[in-house]
């Protein structure tokens, strides 16, 4: 992770359901690529971090120091994708659910 770019971007994170103790009832998938967002949202923000208008204003206020204590905008997931999960319910019946927002596609400053 150390040679990751400083700027707000998507970082790799693989989630193994055995690591979080859900593997007893989750049949499939055993793991999935969830990713996460991290990095700076410093003024001036490049287009690639797709700042909202509010984030742009906030980063200027932060840079100018008009109001003390205002942090820079946060690097958060922007576009996310769903994940189909096959698992056993409490009655040991097989259930298929498609959960939204389980994996990060793009990050942005908000």
């Amino acid at each position: 992770q150390w040679n990751e770019p400083r700027i707000c971007s998507r970082r790799y994170m693989k989630v193994d359901f055995a690591d979080i103790g859900w593997n007893e009832w989750i049949i499939s998938p055993k793991s999935f690529d969830a990713y996460y967002c991290a990095g700076a949202c410093e003024f001036p923000m490049p287009k690639i971090v797709r700042p909202s208008n509010h984030a742009t204003i906030q980063s200027i206020v932060k840079a100018v120091g008009i109001i003390p204590g205002i942090p820079e905008p946060c690097c958060v997931p922007d576009k996310m994708s769903s994940l189909s999960v096959l698992f056993l319910d409490e009655n040991k019946n097989v259930v298929l659910k498609v959960y939204p927002s389980m994996s990060v596609e793009t990050c942005a400053c908000r």
């Binding site: 097989v94 259930v95 927002s101």
Partner: protein
Amino acid sequence: ERAGSQPAGPVQPPAARDSNSPGRHPGEGSSPPPALGSIAQDMAAVHMLKLYEKYNREGSRPGDGNTVRSFKARPEFLAQKPSYCFNLTSMQDSEMILAATFHFYADKRPRHREVFCKRSKNSSCRLLHLPPILQLNLIFQSIHQNSAYGLVKGNITVFIQRRGAWHAKDISHIVKESKRSGELILCAELDSGEKHQGFPEQVSSHLPYILVYANDLAISEPNSVAVTLQRYDPFPSNDGDPNLSPNASTDTRVRRDTYLPSSIQNNELPEVDYNNNKYNKHDVWENAYKSLKPKASRKDRRRKGQENTETLTKSQVLNFDEKTMKKARRK
């Protein structure tokens, strides 16, 4: 349902459009996939895995819904008739049912013809007596808790052309009605007109099952994954004050009893004179230890023990002489 209905080809409810060729049941002719591990015995699990692979390949289309639940059958006798019961209680209120299908296996050959042909010498007996189409009545009843009788919710007549194969029938209206009325134990009787003997010698992988296709309206809520998949909570949930730290359990703490005998007001030893300024902590401890008696013999100790218990029972509270009390009051 009126007689003469369509042969029970596999129903294609919104979410069940399998990639299998029409007329083939998803689980047929396939060895149980390794992903299912120990639960691969039942066809419901095999079917669900096929649906999972399809959802993964093609994603779920808007009309498909985001949930498919399978329900395995539990063989029961209902009013002395062999029935298959399904516990639908795990359906969530937020799951809007789009469709439901009943999947059953039509035995290869009815038994009575077996017996009949065994006696006859005619070798082509089996062919001559093979009834072209098997008529089955699927009678669905909802059962109230602990009652032996049910309320008929539906009676569907199906005509089976292919034996030794799986068939599916749409029962959306029956399951929707059951969920609406809260009667979530549904039993199905497969009546082929033969006199009732027991359950056909079906292997467990041939037990019927129900699939329910739904749209879970709560799945887009934040943290919906925790509602159905987080089965334990590493921290006790603080329903009350959100600021409570996860360790502060909301249950009332056991109040420890702080019993202070009224007579002891401080830690000073009664026989020590704390007034004179020669008082030196070290001396006090010296005196206290010096005054320990040499080890008494076993007999003496036993007697001493008796004396102690006697004195203990006599004076539970420490008594100070007047002089000490006077000093204490002065202090």
